[in-house]
Assembly symmetry: C2
Homo-oligomer: 592 residues x 2
């Protein structure tokens, strides 16, 4: 409820600056007031304690126009927990302290505090926000950010209406139990999610075989008296499936984003083909799919025409990809108006490609080609990364054991979030910050890690430091897990930048051989890229955004177990950091 | 892991000052390093996530000698939660910022931070520490503080050995669920505890009738094959009952403290009478009891002689008092050496006075008479409060509804913990701090509160401000709950002071009539006093300790629902507050 005396003025300056620098003079301020609270929710019909914004999961949708300033005044009403909100995909030019990543950009917002995020949404597209402290994302702290084109710009495709769907996964154990389990000896893994959620709705343990349209509306009470009626879809408004009403014949822009804690997902719109037109906020050359892989941290826009038999409804469905799934299909209902939303689709839940068909995944990943001539106003000036890399990192991902704990590590360093945000630590020279190695030790992707690289893994809270404006190549090299013949799929996300995806490959990256295969002609710009099992992914970006930026596996459990690094650039060029972002760790107020 | 640069020096100065000012030149520094973590524990044989210090519940015992300086270097390894530790009964003369009460004395210690508490234990006695942020005490964050007499002082009673027992209650729901339930509409009360714990050990749902000494050692596996063997006492070392080994014929000093979240307890040492010799660290005229009421927040020392039939063992037992109990007796085993600890006492669980026999409770409460001539060195110089009160507060306790939420209120103000610690808010004049009313509105103890006082209840985060050195009388006046004929027992605890208990009474306090009945001859000094249902308790203290001090119901649920006030005195006389105690709310670092 209380606000640091200087913050009003500070934010006002930011806001005016943002408004002046926006390209459209009509750029608006989008103002939100949020309260973060615990809530008892039954998102998949099973009640648990979760974290909600204004009582909602997903939280309130942020709607803005490219160039607008978004202002979110957030009050933390959790009794003892801190909180931060990361604006995933928003680059925070000039406002790195509002990126909302604990240990990187700001101190946690303490219980009872009100903190105001103020930032410009620099590029139209589909984004989302989520908690970025401990495992608060898995507790339900997330929502959509929809950035539209300004009135004087036209989308390079036609649609009549738009729909947004946040996709996620859901556990019945609390985030505290999940996190402690991961940090136990032996570890208690979170396992596969109990449910998959579409717009925060799912059904626990509900096999579609048990349901029929006849039973759709039966309540639990009715079920107890009717042997044919299985309470698979009880009439609980909180966990009724999400309904997507469509008008037959119209074309829809579907904004999809995967905010899952763990799961790579495959999205299917039963009976409809989809035309993919945008990825992570970037226009791409349209292509058609019958099913779409979406890794945690990614977003897509797809077009579809409601041109199927209008006498029935259809499933929108998500299945787990990349892990042997035990979670039933997550289902929503595409309601062909004027059918009832309660008219259950007569078909079984849609089936996705086999979870381990990585050839299909890689093939789809390679299909993304930027659509030239659009977004030419974006920061990089051009779609093609002409500049050769000034610095190349090769980041080896391994499972390691440190003091008996199983950890994830990058070049044998397992990241531990520091108490002092690295942005402040750099800016005020508060401590010596270690720099992790640019390249891994000797390793063998096909061999157990103990044989080579991960003997000497250790904890670290450092950062890679880049020259401002430097072009950086990063090879994210998957390793071999502790179990034989095991390697995970890791979606890697970079804050504060979009990066070009130069290529994917299998096995060990060979610089001489593989860098020749890089796509330097038309690589797509993304903020999240999958690294396939036993494979590598190569990205390039320009370190042109002063700040400290997490680069990490977007699987929340993996980042909690150390799978991430920090990138720092041009921090000393930043003006004063806003006082409300400080106060923790080494940023205590010695002036009082 | 990180420490504010100036804090080493700051604490060093405190420490040297403390050492110099201690009466005994041999005063020592007792140094502890603690880590606060989540832990999966099975204190009553049912696993739950709890908060532990160095993996232990109760946490490590603090052992010190009167005049020693205790230094606790605490690292918060919780992923997202802040934490503080309150040193219950330690007055913190000169170190009010190390009192460990969130919203009063310091900012929460954030995740990853290391914070060092440094304070002098000013008076020999039995004390304890516990979390004082949200409901972290009920999560298991507590332990014992034992302060012994220095070598040149002699206890006014004889004993051969000493034993300490922390008594508490335990819920299977997490503290998050408990707290959210209390703040829900309709409220979900925490209900009676699942178990009572002695030194952190209990047995869930274990009726002693189901147990026999024969079955005591049977394991769950054996039980499954033996129809007579009930797995009431499974062989789980974590929840085996606490064992108190005694040598027949010896005299023991038993140090008892009730750190329960909710429960008033009655302690019984089966077959043994106990001689009560100390209450809340103050010597009292010894008297004998067969059972002892201990309210949450209180401590006692009792003597007993192990003079019973040595061929068997005996129960140490706690039962709930003051609330209609549903929780089985909490049991520990008094092991008469050389009997086996596994020799189960042959008798049923000891029975305490009826839960609602408040006449017995009041009679026992009136028995405490200070033992003159001891502790003459204490701060007040004399046991008898000669000074007449300079200020009198009458604090009415009511259940209220605010915006549909059920709250507890004091003079119609329901306390909400502020984001800025009041100590810093006063010291640096950071905001206007409201002062709640000294007296209640018109009320009727025997009528439903809606009829009179609690129509206009509101939230508040203010403080009563006293002149430094002023003598203050407080009448804590119990009210009528929202349900008919309902009034709770509330144990009220004052930080930073000991107070004289001037008297107890039934019904509405009448100043003219009842103040004449005050015991001004030999009132006992305490830090926690019960307020009986529909009754009042009168206390007096000297506001001579510069700082901000919570005065509140020690039932954690009640304080979480607003049943507390803050007392401030002489704050501007304090030197600089230690920077690590700041950084939250309005104490952000504007100098960086």
């Amino acid at each position: 409820m209380e606000m640091e005396l200087g913050v009003f003025f500070f934010n006002f300056v930011i806001l005016v600056f943002a408004a002046l620098s926006a390209r459209e003079v009509e750029a608006a301020v989008r103002y939100y007031e949020w309260s973060v609270d615990y809530a008892f929710v039954s998102l998949d019909c099973v009640e648990k304690l979760a974290m909600a914004i204004n009582g909602q999961i997903p939280g309130p949708r942020v709607d803005a126009v490219e160039g607008d300033t978004v202002v979110v005044k957030l009050t933390n009403n959790l009794p003892t927990e801190g909180v931060v909100i990361h604006w995933h995909g928003i680059r925070q030019f000039g406002t790195p302290y509002y990126d909302g990543a604990a240990s990187a950009s700001q101190c946690p917002i303490n219980s009872g505090e009100t903190f105001t995020y103020t930032f410009v949404v620099d590029q139209a597209g589909t984004y989302f926000y989520h908690g970025h402290f401990g495992m608060q994302r898995s507790a339900g702290l997330y929502g959509s950010i929809i950035v539209s084109l300004p009135a004087n710009k036209v989308e390079p495709f036609h649609y009549d209406e738009e729909i947004s769907l946040l996709l996620s996964d859901w556990w019945h154990k609390s985030m505290y139990e999940q996190e402690l389990g991961l940090h136990s000896i032996p570890p208690r893994y979170v396992g596969e999610p109990q449910s998959l959620l579409i717009e925060g709705r799912g059904k626990y343990n509900c096999s579609l075989d048990e349901c029929s349209s006849f039973h759709y509306n039966c309540t639990v009470d009715e079920c107890s008296t009717s042997p044919d009626c299985i309470p698979c879809w009880p009439s609980n408004p909180e966990c009724d499936p999400h309904v997507i009403p469509v008008h037959p014949g119209k074309t829809y822009r579907l904004r999809l984003a995967n905010v899952a804690s763990l799961s790579a997902l495959n999205f299917i719109l039963e009976g409809h083909t989809m035309t993919v037109v945008m990825a992570d906020g970037h226009y791409i050359e349209p292509f058609e799919v019958s099913n779409l892989d979406i890794y945690s941290g990614q977003s897509y826009c797809v077009l579809f025409n409601a041109n199927r038999n209008p006498s029935r409804n259809y499933w929108a469905a998500i299945n787990v990809r990349g892990r042997d799934p035990t979670t039933p299909t997550g289902l929503a209902i595409v309601q062909y108006l004027p059918n009832s939303a309660n008219l259950l689709p007569p078909s079984p839940a849609p089936v996705s490609p086999a979870w381990n068909d990585f050839a299909a995944s890689t093939a789809q990943a390679r299909k993304y080609v930027p659509r030239p001539g659009l977004h030419t106003e974006h920061r990089y000036g051009k779609v093609v990364p002409k500049r050769a890399a000034g610095r190349t990192l090769i980041l080896l991902l391994t499972q390691n054991k440190i003091d008996g704990y199983i950890k994830w590590a990058v070049n044998n360093v397992s990241f531990v979030p520091p108490a002092t945000p690295l942005l402040a630590a750099f800016k005020f020279n508060l401590k010596k910050i270690s720099s992790p190695p640019d390249t891994p030790p000797n390793f063998d992707v096909s061999a157990l890690p103990a044989a080579t690289a991960n003997i000497n893994a250790s904890y670290g809270s450092g950062a890679y430091v880049f020259k401002l404006g430097e072009t950086v190549d990063v090879i994210i090299q998957n390793g071999h897990n502790l179990n034989p013949d095991d390697s995970d799929l890791h979606p890697w996300h970079l804050h504060g930048h979009h990066f070009w995806v130069l290529g994917y490959g299998n096995g060990k990256f060979d610089s001489r051989r593989h860098s020749k295969s890089f796509n330097l002609i038309n690589p797509p710009l993304r903020n999240t890229v999958p690294v396939f099992p036993f494979g590598w992914s190569a990205i390039r970006f320009v370190a042109d955004n002063p700040g400290v930026w997490p680069f990490h596996c977007h699987i929340e459990e993996h980042f909690a177990m150390g799978m991430g690094v920090m990138f720092a650039e041009g921090v000393h060029q930043l003006p004063k950091l806003p006082p409300p972002t400080l106060g923790c760790g080494l940023t205590k107020p010695t002036h009082l």
